[in-house]
Structures are given as structure tokens and as C-alpha cells.
Symmetry: C2
Subunit: 289 residues, 2 copies
């Protein structure tokens, strides 16, 4: 059974699961685990690791249109070096401060591979799910795509300072809160834009038609992509950018755009069925964790 | 730096950390990670693993005297087998139901070693910390000690059914809620009774004098312990029993006892300094995770 089939089994068993966060009363809750071999390439500092791991969970809170309250992390490593652990915690604290949340601690654990497990908790009375998109709604995204893919190329090239900068992102909590009154469906783009569009379409029982030229590809991608194919791969499929992908009724679009400090870009329209980019079927393929 | 020194560094950095749960507004939050090699001996079923992992986090909520609201888990394994994953989730759901909490899901993650990360969230307006014990208070414990140690011996002996039964425990959420109005300090016994007494004494700036004969050692220990030394080791040091250890003012003791459905046993008295058992210094040694 692959991870997707297993997740579907989990979804069938647990009524609360399946969105970016689980919802319980007025709380939204999310947890995730990251590993050195799959999630932290050579050159990632412990500061960036803390920032990014906690940021990924805060991004899930943002995707529900919720206020971020608090985050926790388990730091598992073969040994505990004061400088590394201190830097990690500093990254956790700073990313929480960036979104007005509190980093409240967590646990330490001896483990062969550097592994981080994070949890974030937020609150909202009106969570935005993946399932409310309606045909005719505008498909919108925050920020730019391909930062993390570009960062990975820079890590490979040994340009670790610039790569670490790109690897830290501001979770879109403020944008999520601003968009919540307008968005009919929302999620974060952690598995890539293409996967996100497919997941929103599936959860909402509709289709999506988007235009590649309208996808805001990050300038960092232009600098590292060796070909148009690679540019598209990093911008559309690579993922791990933690931007918001949402649908907004046409009539509310200009108000939604002015509500957010971060750029909100329309990249397409919700349709009855099928996920297409420039009239071609868009492959349901992204970053597999 | 060992885990204890590292935890102390974390405590210095994070004002909210250091107790069984972090406290944020009216929420108590806790997270933990368990690994196959260190926490799940051969013979532990996936059902027991789910029950025990989520139960350990719910026990932290209980130790704050809080109501348990919801729990999450990350299930990380080399591959996902439907039967194993289904049994794991069933264990998570059942232990939550046992304490009136909701298991709201979590995440899956590909990982070489079977690893589980759990989070629990609870609510209380008046959390009980480790730091309020006063000289003269009665030192009390819920339930019995040594179950997990006895279970480990049974796993080693291949008696897996009985061992799995012992390895599942009911988190003391109801007892924690009942004791909260009386307890001056409280924590769970996950690191063993001896470590818990030292941690309460340290946090409260006091001492503890307890009587070994009053420690309620589990009948399962009597059945597996080959010697009086082993009985004491399993009952006092081994840990992982997830009982509550608390201090209660003498005057409130009989009311506290009748408030809890589970047996509350007095094992000693809070003193000015030093942690002693039968007048000998009690070694600050327990289960190291």
C-alpha cells in the first residue's frame, strides 16, 4: 500500500481527518514528521531546520484560515550539541514570532537519524476546507512558486547561504486569515501546485483550468533552471513552497486581493471536471514525502 | 550533552516548557516520539503501539489536571500494511475513547524504523504544575507500579498476549481532573517513581520521604520478579507506568481519596530537603528514553 492509499484508509476511519488540519471544536490541529535524508539536504542549518519544520505545520494552520496559537517540536538526533539545539530552537521561536504564535517547546529524543516532528494548534470558528470550490470561482495563489526547488539546486551547488534563505518561508497565516471570509476552498501547496489543484478538485467534486503563464514562478527559479522544462518542473510540480492555493467567487476577487498584504494571483477558474493547464491535462504528480 | 542537560537548556530558553505539558492560554499541549528499538519490544502489536503511544501523551494531559480534548499521531514505517495501520489507528481511537477524548488523525511518513510521534491537547483553567509541593503535604500515587517492567519481562519470555495487555494502560485523565482541586503538585510517572519524586522535589524546592512498603507494586511484578532486588527495581525505577504522582495537603487527603475512582495511595510526606526512601537517599535513576 503506498502512502496515498494508506492516507485514504485513514480518511475512511477518521471523520475529522483529511484536510490540512484536523478540526476539533474551535481548534485546528496538525502534526508532521521530517527526516534528514528526505527533507533536510546537506547544508541546511539547524536554524533553518527548526524554522522550516515548525513553519510547515503553521502553514497547515494558515490553510484552514485559522489564527495560529502555538507550536511544538520533537528534536530527535544521535546526540545533542548545545549550539545545534540552540539554533534549532531559535528557528522554531522565530518562525512562530513571524506569525504571532508561541513556540511552547516539545521534547528531545535519542535517534539515529536527525528527525523532527512538529505540531501546530490554531483557532477559528469558521475553518476553510478543501471541499467548497464551485465552478466559476477564481483559482488563486499567494506568493511565488519554486523557491524550495531552487533552494535544493543551490544546496547541491554548495551555495548554502542563499539556499538557507530560500528554504525559510513565512507561513501564510495572515493571508489565510484575510482570505478566510472569501475563500470557498483552500489548502497549502506543500505537495506542489499540480497536486494541490488535483486535491482541491477532488475534495470539491469539480475541475480546474489554469494558465501556466499566470503561475507566479519565483525569480530564484529563473536563476537556476537550465531549461524551460526544468522551470516548469520546479514551479508546478516540485512543491514544498507552502503557499496558499484557494478558490474565490469571481465577485469577491478584487476585495480578496486587497485584503491580503501578500500578492494574490489568479491563475485560473474552477470548472465542472478535469484538471487542465493550458488546455492539456495536468499531471497529478508532485513531491512525495 | 546528555538528554537531561539538553532539556535544561531548552527549559532555560522556553518559559512555557518544563512541565508534563506546555501551557498556552487555557490549552495544555504535549508531544513525544517513540521508536521501535527503544520503546516497542518484539511482540508489541500495532494495536498496543497505537494505544500506548497516544496514551503516553494523554497521560501528560492528565498530569496537568486537565480535560483531554484531542490527540494526533504520525505513523512512520518502512511500508504501510493495511492491517497493521488499521490496528494502530484502532488502538489510538480506543485509548482516546477511554478518556473521552477524540483521536483526530495525524500523518503518515516513510521511515526506516517504525516510529510514532504523538500529540495531545487538553484544556484547563487551573493547571497543576510540578512546583507547588509544600513540606507536610502527603505524597500520593494512583494505581500500581511496575506493570510496564513486568510486561517487558513477559515480552522477553514470549508471553506476548499477557504482555500486550499489561502494556496498555488507562491514562489517568479522570483521576487528574478529580485530584486537580486538591493536588499542590503533580506529574506522571513515565520516567519511574524515583525520578518522579526527584523531579517534583526539584521543581518545588523541597524534599520527599517515602516508605517502600507503602508503594503499591503491581501483582504482575510479584509474578515475574526473581528477587526482592528485581521487585524493587521494577516497581521504583523502571517507570513507563504512566501513573500520577502528586502531593496533597494532609487536611485534604481523605477528600482527595474519595474523589477518585482509582485507588490513591499515600507513600510518604513532603520534607524540607532530600529525597529518601526508608531513611536512605533514593537514587535519582529511572528509565532513560
Amino acid at each position: 500500500m503506498d502512502e496515498r492509499a494508506a492516507l485514504s484508509l485513514v480518511g475512511d476511519t477518521l471523520p475529522h481527518a483529511g484536510d490540512d488540519c484536523a478540526v476539533f471544536d474551535d481548534l485546528v490541529l496538525t502534526t508532521d514528521m521530517l527526516h534528514e535524508t528526505t527533507d533536510f539536504p546537506d547544508g541546511v542549518t539547524r536554524y533553518t531546520a527548526g524554522w522550516r519544520a515548525v513553519g510547515a505545520s503553521l502553514s497547515d494552520v494558515a490553510a484552514m484560515g485559522a489564527e495560529a496559537d502555538a507550536a511544538l517540536a520533537v528534536y530527535a538526533a544521535p546526540r545533542f550539541e548545545a549550539a545545534e539545539l540552540g539554533a534549532f530552537i531559535e528557528g522554531c521561536v522565530d518562525v512562530c514570532e513571524a506569525v504571532d504564535a508561541a513556540y511552547v517547546g516539545g521534547d528531545l529524543d535519542g535517534h539515529e537519524e536527525f528527525t523532527v516532528s512538529t505540531t501546530a494548534v490554531g483557532r477559528t470558528d469558521a475553518p476553510v476546507y478543501r471541499s467548497g470550490a464551485e465552478p466559476g470561482d477564481a483559482v488563486c495563489v499567494t506568493g511565488t512558486f519554486g523557491r524550495s526547488g531552487a533552494a535544493l539546486r543551490l544546496f547541491e551547488a554548495g551555495e548554502t547561504d542563499r539556499a538557507n534563505d530560500l528554504f525559510r518561508f513565512e507561513p501564510r497565516v495572515a493571508a489565510g486569515l484575510a482570505l478566510a471570509p472569501y475563500a470557498t476552498a483552500m489548502m497549502d501547496s506543500s505537495d506542489g501546485l499540480a497536486r494541490s489543484l488535483h486535491q482541491l478538485a477532488e475534495a470539491s467534486g469539480c475541475g480546474m483550468a489554469v494558465t501556466y503563464a499566470d503561475v507566479p514562478v519565483d525569480p530564484a527559479v529563473e536563476a537556476v533552471a537550465a531549461s524551460p522544462t526544468e522551470r516548469r518542473e520546479l514551479g508546478v510540480h516540485f512543491g514544498e513552497d507552502f503557499e496558499l492555493v484557494c478558490t474565490v467567487p469571481e465577485a469577491a476577487l478584487s476585495e480578496a486581493k486587497t485584503s491580503t498584504a501578500v500578492e494574490l494571483t489568479r491563475i485560473g477558474t474552477v470548472t465542472d471536471e478535469g484538471v487542465r493547464m493550458d488546455d492539456d491535462p495536468l499531471e497529478d504528480r508532485g513531491f512525495t514525502h
